[in-house]
Symmetry: C2
Subunit: 412 residues, 2 copies
């Protein structure tokens, strides 16, 4: 079942917002066995939207539209679909009740919002408990078109309650060969070294695909397997995975949508261990990564953001003399930060990060991108120096990835 995504909105087109919706939808429908053929971002422009629907219906069985259903004048999706299907707008009494119910929670049914109850007569309305616009489902003329609001949690609610179950039931009926993806996650090795380690994929892939996808925490290995039955796909997937594990296993920390912090946390929780963090250049990002997953309070106890030198000395017992002699970005300061936070929070492990994130603050000896990371454990302490690049944001992200990678090596 071929699916194409159409994201509507000048704000995406001109880059004012990042198209996270498309990634979420693509991931969600791929997971149930749909084949995503294209994402397309178009303007708040009726003609362009019409042309795009016309073009993509040729290669696709399902078009998933997001955006342009809001209450303001620049929203065109509903109008275009009414025209496309030569439909008319009628007032939905059910939706008017929903709008009134929402108003009883403290919002008023303004005239602007009441217009949301006017919906195309041949569309099925998809409930949206947290918003004022319903999803619109057209299942006509051999194509399924679903229009959803661009607000991420409204779109997700409609996808999960309506669209995923619908597509899933169609897939079960069809029984076509589908492609499924499985990802193995690595840390601590560069893309080309990993490729050399694994060798020519053509020698062990038979009809499957393998892709190398680098990001800040490491390189992901994505296996795509195609087959008629789940059994066929599982067998091939396990065969390829075992080759990869044999050749690069020591760098593989997890699979699919696992996160490095989640995997580290799982290992810590299993052993009844805990961690705390002392952050300088990352300013809270490592703590944020640790607490990203629900349930992290079991193994993550807290941390200190010591952005100033004063606070490093006062809160973490870093010696002023070390800062004076070696600078705040130094092995000794990272070591002391890790030990200081470990003691303060009474955790099994303490992590200290201090670095020059940039763009300013670099010197000949310590250029922008120099980061010291230390992990203090119950018995031993590991402290490493990294050289990242010139980009402040990337240096901060890579520092978080490196710190978690160091802890993973210890606790796996």
């Amino acid at each position: 079942m071929n699916v194409a995504l159409i994201s509507i909105g000048d704000e995406i087109l001109i880059g004012q917002i990042v198209n996270r919706n498309a990634a979420w939808i693509a991931e969600t429908v791929t997971a149930i066995g749909c084949h995503v053929v294209e994402h397309c971002v178009v303007a708040d422009d009726s003609q362009q939207l019409m042309n795009t629907i016309d073009r993509l219906r040729i290669t696709s069985d399902v078009l998933l539209l997001t955006g342009g259903l809001g209450p303001t004048h620049d929203d065109v999706t509903k109008t275009v679909l009414v025209e496309y299907f030569q439909d008319v707008l009628v007032e939905s009494s059910d939706w008017m009740k929903h709008l009134t119910w929402m108003s009883q929670r403290g919002r008023e049914v303004t005239e602007r919002n009441a217009a949301q109850a006017l919906t195309p007569s041949t569309a099925t309305l998809l409930s949206n408990p947290i918003g004022t616009a319903p999803g619109l489902l057209f299942n006509r003329d051999g194509i399924i078109i679903v229009a959803m609001p661009g607000v991420p949690n409204e779109m997700k609610s409609i996808m999960e309650s309506h669209v995923v179950p619908l597509l899933h039931s169609k897939l079960v009926v069809q029984g076509n060969a589908t492609t499924q993806y499985y990802t193995m996650l690595t840390t601590g090795i560069a893309e080309s070294n990993l490729a050399d380690l694994i060798g020519d994929p053509m020698m062990f892939l038979s009809g499957s695909t393998l892709a190398f996808l680098p990001n800040y925490t490491g390189v992901r290995l994505r296996i795509g397997v195609t087959g008629l039955t789940q059994e066929q796909r599982d067998k091939e997937r396990m065969r390829v995975a075992s080759v990869l594990r044999e050749r690069a296993g020591r760098f593989i920390y997890g699979h699919d949508d696992q996160t490095l912090s989640g995997v580290v946390g799982h290992h810590l929780a299993e052993r009844g261990q805990s961690v705390s963090v002392a952050e300088s250049c990352t300013g809270g990002l490592l703590g944020a990564a640790c607490t990203d997953a629900p349930g992290s309070s079991v193994w993550f106890h807290g941390g200190v953001i010591t952005y100033s030198n004063d606070s490093k000395v006062r809160e973490l017992g870093v010696h002023q003399s070390d800062i004076d002699r070696c600078g705040a970005v130094s092995e000794e300061v990272a070591r002391r930060m890790a030990l200081g936070v470990q003691e303060k929070f009474g955790t099994t492990y303490g992590i200290g990060i201090t670095g020059v994130a940039g763009p300013d603050g670099g010197t000949v000896d310590k250029p922008v991108g120099t980061v010291w990371i230390s992990v203090a454990g119950p018995a031993e302490q590991t402290t490493l120096k990294y050289h990242f690049g010139a980009d402040r944001r990337i240096n901060r992200e890579r520092s978080v990835g490196a710190a978690l990678g160091m802890l993973w090596k210890i606790v796996r």
Copy 2:
């Protein structure tokens, strides 16, 4: 000058990575006056890429491609462009020198990487000091096609050094009417209330456009003005902006790519004031937002991530009796956290956040999404309760936005 973006890669298509590159490129070329007509994400598939180039060259003057230039077998872009322009691959001695130079920094010129020096004979190579693949520029048959690596900092380096200057020089020569965008940023008001406050945009827009773009920190108002000269555009922009400021000025904190934390920091720095943060459910995200901008050490001194109740009592002087009586998510605990961190770091302001981010931990009295935020200042303290939604990630992001919004109201 019409520009279309083509992002190549199954990893984007299936939603494994978010297409941040497209947003960055779109924003960058829009800022110099280009008109972005479409973003398209396609598979690592030669035929689909070929078809997409064929289609988009009709509506576009420039095609910007990212991805598919890497050293592994799933990279198809170079091959497709060679076929599209009926070109041949030749070895570039300059690029081989670059690969050797990179190897002297500790990397080896593996056979895999050496293949990156084979480039199309009619393409101009665009230098990429931080990667192994050069950008490829074709300026033939009435169309400009640029292929860049998908690695974000390599793409950005090529855009900034080569593509932006080229497009800018073409635009100056053309002298066509261009559209420029200007954004006013609001916080503390919902989209439909803001729309009502501003009234029907058709009454004061003459040829300009206005869009409402909500995100976690607030609603952005994007004005699009079209004109032949910069003077015309500036005049119209200032006219529309002054109407918006008159009607909704008290919610407007900044413009364009300013951030709420950056604006707050600017106000604090101007007054010689400072802030520190005590975070529970946000786990470091507020500190990360504060330190996102370079130079934040002037006004941001640090913080404490007190994820456990123990650490709230020990580090911030929260009373155990308050936690026992009111729970960790309560007005009194948020107040104490703010006061505790303010005192600990000796800053002008202290912010405390405690909430139920979800998905677990909600109760009838304190459902998931309940967050208390307190801002302690030199004289007074403001503490507010928020009800966000069911999504953990969004609750954390909105908490950060709300906390910064509260501080902004005080320091603006």
